[in-house]
Symmetry: none
DNA sequence: AGGTAGTATTTGTCTAGTTGTATAGTACAT
DNA sequence: ATGTACTATACAACTAGACAAATACTACCT
């Protein structure tokens, strides 16, 4: 009978539409969305189907509901400045959110060719590999994999474990300041594990940045890639 | 010893029986058929066999199923004139049916580039976005999304909410008359939500008209798109 | 003005029913 | 052998309605 039934559930397309409305600024931060009943009418579905969509959006921290009051836009996509000085905690706080981190992996490995090249090492030299999740208001914003030259930064592994911020850990290793030499940005689709970490869905748009940071002497001390949830983050370049 | 097996499949005879029921007025247009499970019981067959029959009928446009709701007798085709003066209520009444409308969405938003261009506004100027469903004899005929220049038509939002017809709402805002500058017609396939509203299936053929209307001074006051259920509406052009 | 009660909205939760899809299996005809 | 017709079962997706709980609004009283 029906040609092709919607392979994507209706509630998901509703969530996408509303997310798009918010992302495009049609509803501002803190604004109240139309009532569930009205949205149900607009989309021609039952109220429960709308609730399913809103629940999905709420889980991603995009929106939050107050019983009796309504559903409100929790957050427009976070602006994340990309420039010479990239400090996650500063960036998030500047956006009026509370930053936090979670370490997924922290170990010493032998540098591969790419890492050695970026950090000006010989292949096989020891590097500290750090993989972590960055949160804004307890919502995952970015997934990062960063590589540090182990011999150039003695004690960096323990420092990363002890301190919550990379900046603080580097300072503990004697790096007073560091700047981003270059940042490359590309668009990707989320893999299954990335989607899991970033609490989005597989195939969702992802912003991937690749960068190298130097200390004040121009010696590379960090090579890393970061994956941002594309619909939750807007990278901004300039005014640095 | 072997009985002669039915040359015509069971499902076909079920389809014929049900089609006959509809033709004889046992189920009226728009009415809900008994649930598949009940029909299965009535005919003493498995539910899937009934589904096979209903699928056949749906393909012929006789019935339409809504997941979770039921199977409904489809509506008959309507003629809809398209010309310089497009008045929904007049058009439907001329076809001997009772027109009605339902507002799905009514908000003030910022105009996007396309809307601004059509209405001769600057992008970001406030526009009233109206989305509505048009019915003939309580059967959905068209889905419309119309955009009005908010500043050019003060009070249009309230007027649209208060009056049942767009013509009446515009008159309340001082627009005595308006004519369609141009109408473009294309064929599309129904999206999931469009299909839900128009009570047809996703992927069903859709007639989409895009048009701009001017007031008597030639100032654009309306930019809208309308989606008609292709197998239930015939657009007619001429004698204007 | 200010508080209070009542009413209407709005989200949260629950139960039940219906169609859509997938899988597995039997009978039978060509 | 292969395909068609049909049965059987299970689950997912969506609808429908009802009620509870929290909130917002309005009219009224003091």
């Amino acid at each position: 009978m029906a040609k092709s039934p919607p392979r994507t559930p209706v509630w998901r397309s509703i969530a996408i539409t509303l997310t798009d409305d918010i992302a495009q600024g049609r509803y501002e931060t803190g604004a109240k969305l139309p009532a569930e009943a009205q949205l149900a009418e607009r989309f021609g579905v039952n109220r429960h189907t709308v609730r399913r969509a809103l629940a999905d959006m709420a889980e991603q921290g995009l929106v939050h509901a107050r019983r009796g009051a309504g559903v409100f836009v929790a957050a427009k996509p976070t602006d994340y400045p990309v420039g010479k000085r990239i400090r996650f905690h500063q960036n998030i706080r500047r956006a009026g959110r509370v930053p936090s981190k979670k370490i997924l992996r922290l170990e010493v490995l032998a540098a591969d060719a790419r890492e050695a090249d970026a950090l000006d090492l010989a292949p096989g030299d020891p590097v500290v590999v750090y993989e972590g999740l960055s949160y804004a208001d307890d919502h995952p914003v970015a997934l990062a994999r960063t590589v540090f030259p182990a011999e150039r930064l003695p004690g960096i592994l323990e420092a990363l474990d002890a301190h919550d911020s990379i900046t603080a850990a580097l300072k503990a290793c004697g790096v007073e300041d560091y700047t981003r030499r270059e940042t490359r940005i590309t668009a990707k689709l989320a893999t299954a594990t990335q989607a899991l970490h970033l609490r989005t869905s597989e195939g969702a748009p992802i912003l991937r940045t690749t960068g190298i940071s130097d200390d004040l002497n121009g010696v590379p001390i960090e090579f890393g890639r970061t994956w941002f949830a594309g619909d939750r983050v807007t990278l901004t370049v300039g005014d640095d």
